[in-house]
Symmetry: C2
Subunit: 208 residues, 2 copies
DNA sequence: CTCTGTGAAATTTTTCACAGCG
DNA sequence: CGCTGTGAAAAATTTCACAGAG
């Protein structure tokens, strides 16, 4: 497949595809294009997707369950190994193939299962406490879904997922489209349409 | 509050804070800093968070329910107005204050409720079909949580949330920290730690 | 004096454009 | 030939550094 086609499918410039891929090595064939299977393999290897990453989820509400059942973690090397909840009534209940455990067991389980990544899926007020416990248990990568700012010591990676931000981005562009309150001086960057477009036209990557 | 302090809290450079805020207008006071309340107000206005955005969720599995119950949409103007599911057994069941409706009712409900944003929270195989129905119903902003590529006609904004990508980013940096397979020529950018750090040190925004 | 707002410089990212490989 | 790989140019973003407002 040519860089041109890959670019079209990804909604970016062909030169960018070639430039980016060139950082991984010379995996294309001049005059022909790229072998997609081989490319996938090399990219997976570079990103570490061949690695096995034990993941623990803390907070088994709707979101925690959704994450626990999410197909597609497995394909990328993420393996849910434990679920924790502070609610004693939930402890022992099974979600998928895992029984929910008490937060007190976190240190023991995290160490024994070599948990590399902790996911916080609790209500906001519990998030900092849970983060502290994860850090104490030796977890050095944390993904926070709770709608609150959490702090961790240096040496620990923390990322936050804000489920409302994508909606904000969509609404920002919708308001522009509708001429809701157009005004100058604001940087623009199109709401992207990922993947090939049904109508064959490239996603307009920039407004204006 | 000074740009310096805001920058520290956000984990960025103070000049960037000032430069960015300057695009909104001159809301700071020289020698003093910014009035946080006023700043929040102006930013909200600029981002359109004062606007009301009716949202419909299609697919009421764990993720759909999690989204339906997510606190914090409301604060930013997103109002869940309808839930849809293709499973007849779910239709009529209540989730929060909304009864689940049949997919067939989407066009009617979307138009009557002036749905601005549709959220796809279905399994992957149903996503494209749902996207088509949303588009047909006049929805021009779509957020796709299904782990599959969906295409829409131009004129419709589509964004995709991939719950595994954040884990990938965390694991990428963890492998680097552990010296898993360091290699040169790969662009670096630190896994960010958002918010103030417990230990007072700034999040290392870049590796190397 | 302190801290903003902002030109200018530095850096990074993206795109162009083309030599040359298969 | 067609398409990659990549220097070089262009564009965008980030940072510096400082005049000047409060």
């Amino acid at each position: 497949m040519s860089s041109e086609r890959l670019a079209e499918l990804a909604g970016v410039n062909a030169a960018k595809v070639r430039k980016d891929l060139s950082y991984l090595g010379s995996y294309g064939t001049r005059g022909v294009g790229y072998d997609v299977g081989y490319l996938l393999h090399e990219i997976s290897r570079e990103l570490g997707l061949t690695h096995d990453w034990p993941v623990a989820i803390v907070g088994v509400g709707n979101l925690g369950q959704a994450l626990a059942n999410y197909r597609g973690f497995g394909a990328r090397g993420f393996r849910i190994v434990a679920l924790f909840d502070a609610d004693p009534r939930k402890v022992g209940r099974k979600v998928g193939e895992h029984a929910i455990q008490a937060l007190e067991d976190l240190p023991e389980v995290a160490r024994r299962g070599r948990v590399a990544i902790g996911i916080i899926a609790t209500p906001a007020p519990a998030a900092q406490e849970v983060a502290d416990r994860l850090v104490d248990a030796g977890v050095t990568s944390i993904l926070n879904f709770a709608p609150t700012v959490v702090s961790v010591p240096s040496g620990v990676s923390l990322r936050k997922v804000d489920l409302a931000i994508e909606l904000q981005i969509l609404s920002f562009y919708q308001r522009r489209r509708d001429g809701g309150a157009a005004r100058d001086g604001v940087a623009l960057d199109g709401a992207k349409s990922d993947g090939p477009r049904r109508d064959g036209r490239a996603a307009s990557a920039r407004a204006r």
